[in-house]
Amino acid sequence: TNGGGTGKAASGAHQLRLAMVTDTGGLGDKSFNDSAYRGLQMAKSKFDAEIAVQESKSAADYQPNLTVLADGDYDEIFAIGFLMNNDLTEVAKNYPDKHFAIIDAVNPQPNVASVTFREQDGSFLAGALAAMVTKTKTIGFLGGIDSPLLRKFEVGYAAGAREIDPNVKVVVKYVGSFEDVASGKELADVMYGGGADIVYIAAGKSGLGAIDEMRARPNAYAIGVDSNQDALVPGKILTSMVKHVDVAVFKIASEVHAGKYPSGSVQLGLKEDGVGLTDFAYTKALIGAAHIARLAALREAIVAGKIVPPSTRDELAAFTPVKL
């Protein structure tokens, strides 16, 4: 096999070798690529795993990137992002002895483990929280580029707000880029200036600018996304809707380390702790115990299937609050 110029473990014990392919967002996207990478790094420190990352410049790179890694002797290869699903199918067929995992998509191949998330579930709670806490009865959602994935966040959030108070206005804006930090800040300025006091920021690096704007404004709050961003501006980020890509990646890595190669698909929602809100480390007092308790009740309702948060704009239009 093809060991490349990489160092081998000195001892006879097998060293765990893990690799991932990013989508075109690449490392540093402040979103799921970074989160997956954190998962790999956890495995590195925990199991002394050797890790490698292949970044993709275009959609045409996915297949060769996966193939290059399949040619190397990696124990598990992670495909980060739904865009790679078709290419992964090809590669998984060509390399039936290799093991793969994909994030955000379901792949039917026997040697692929699939992990998807119910972003709308966690976003629903975020929306509910925002609707409870808002003083201006106006809250905002700030997305990166309008896309079906982002709409799961947007729509779940709006539904959660509606659940609490149909009169709360949800302002939705998209930066048009995951990288335009300045525009992120300016849009946040427009949203806060327009009366929203809480904005759910799901805009990759553009979100850095939005948080910057929020920090400078009194009575302005944000909800973070993907990873726990609460500490970025303690007390002003109400919570973060975490999507535990890192945990999922690490979990698969642990199983591989233990000699089991997972396959099949799992959908991680609130119940599985795949998504969820953070622990309000800095904002408990601000939010208040009553609201926190109510959020817990909502969470239970979703876990129990009593509330099914919508994931598309059509479903949102049809969504009626359950009114627990």
Partner: protein, 284 residues
């Protein structure tokens, strides 16, 4: 009323990096260098500003370094176009790729993690306001400089007929290199405005095509400093409008495309026929 004021303020903030980049474009093009690398100039300016401010803790040093970096990058185009007979457009494309690759790589090397720098000491809102004022003043000053000073005359002559400049006993290569250095410094300042004026960090891709909008502004403004600054302001207002009007039925992509569509419209001459400098883009 307050909303209108907010809108104008937003438009100004949106326009400022465009103004800097467009002024840089005007200087270069009037000297005969068609500078596609404005985007790269913004990028290295923004990055270097943030990186130096991080290392020294002094955003003013960052500002100076950002200007130097912009000057260096665009100066490279100037030198290549006057000494090595390069095709300016191709070289500009190369420089943009180089700037994007080098800064992204430098973020990893210097800060250990890809994507963005940590937060750095920035110029603050006073600094931001000052830079907005600087942009406006620079446009006025450049216009006066173009019209009223010997250097303005030489620069304009150089963009029209470098051969004539040569036979007037001046060195058109030198003039062009100086123009790209000056233009690059101004583009770098535009980048600094983004990373240290408006924000307090550098993040990959944060220039987001502003250098290309600036090229459109140069045409729309008919290659004059005031015209280009005015066009940049108009484009800034368009983006601000886009922010405000979003999701009112108009696709946001259409709103985002407006500056580019406006530039295309300008090519039809509906804003009045203006000619590019005769030797614009012609290497020596």
């Amino acid at each position: 009323m307050a909303e209108l004021l907010d809108f104008f303020q937003l438009a100004l903030v949106k326009a400022t990096p465009l103004i800097f980049a467009a002024l840089a474009g005007v200087i270069c093009e009037r000297s005969g260098i068609l500078n596609i690398a404005l985007e790269g100039g913004l990028t290295v300016g923004a990055f270097t500003g943030a990186a130096v401010s991080f290392e020294t803790g002094n955003p003013l040093l960052g500002l100076i370094a950002g200007m130097l970096a912009g000057a260096l990058l665009c100066g490279l185009l100037g030198v290549a176009a006057t000494r090595f007979g390069v095709d300016q457009i191709v070289a500009g494309i190369g420089l943009n790729m180089l700037a994007a690759g080098a800064t992204a790589f430098a973020v990893v090397v210097l800060f250990g993690a890809p994507g963005a720098t940590p937060e750095v000491h920035a110029l603050g809102s006073a600094g931001e306001t000052a830079l907005i004022a600087v942009a406006v003043v620079a446009a006025l000053a450049l216009q006066l400089g173009f019209d009223r000073t010997p250097w303005g005359l030489r620069l304009r002559a150089c963009g029209e007929n470098p051969q004539a400049v040569l036979s007037a006993g001046l060195d058109p290569r030198r003039i062009r290199v100086l123009a790209t250095l000056a233009g690059g410094a101004i583009a770098g300042l535009g980048g600094v405005f983004l990373s240290l004026g408006e924000l307090d960090l550098y993040s990959d891709g944060m220039t987001a095509g502003r250098g290309f909008i600036a090229l459109a502004a140069v045409i729309f403004g008919r290659w004059t400093p005031l015209g280009a600054a005015g066009a940049a302001l108009a484009f800034g207002a368009l983006s601000a409008l886009q922010f405000v009007l979003q999701r009112s039925g108009v696709p946001s992509e259409l709103m985002q495309a407006l500056p580019y569509l406006a530039a295309l419209a300008a090519l039809t001459g509906i804003v009045g026929k203006a000619r590019a400098p005769a030797a614009d883009g012609v290497s020596l």
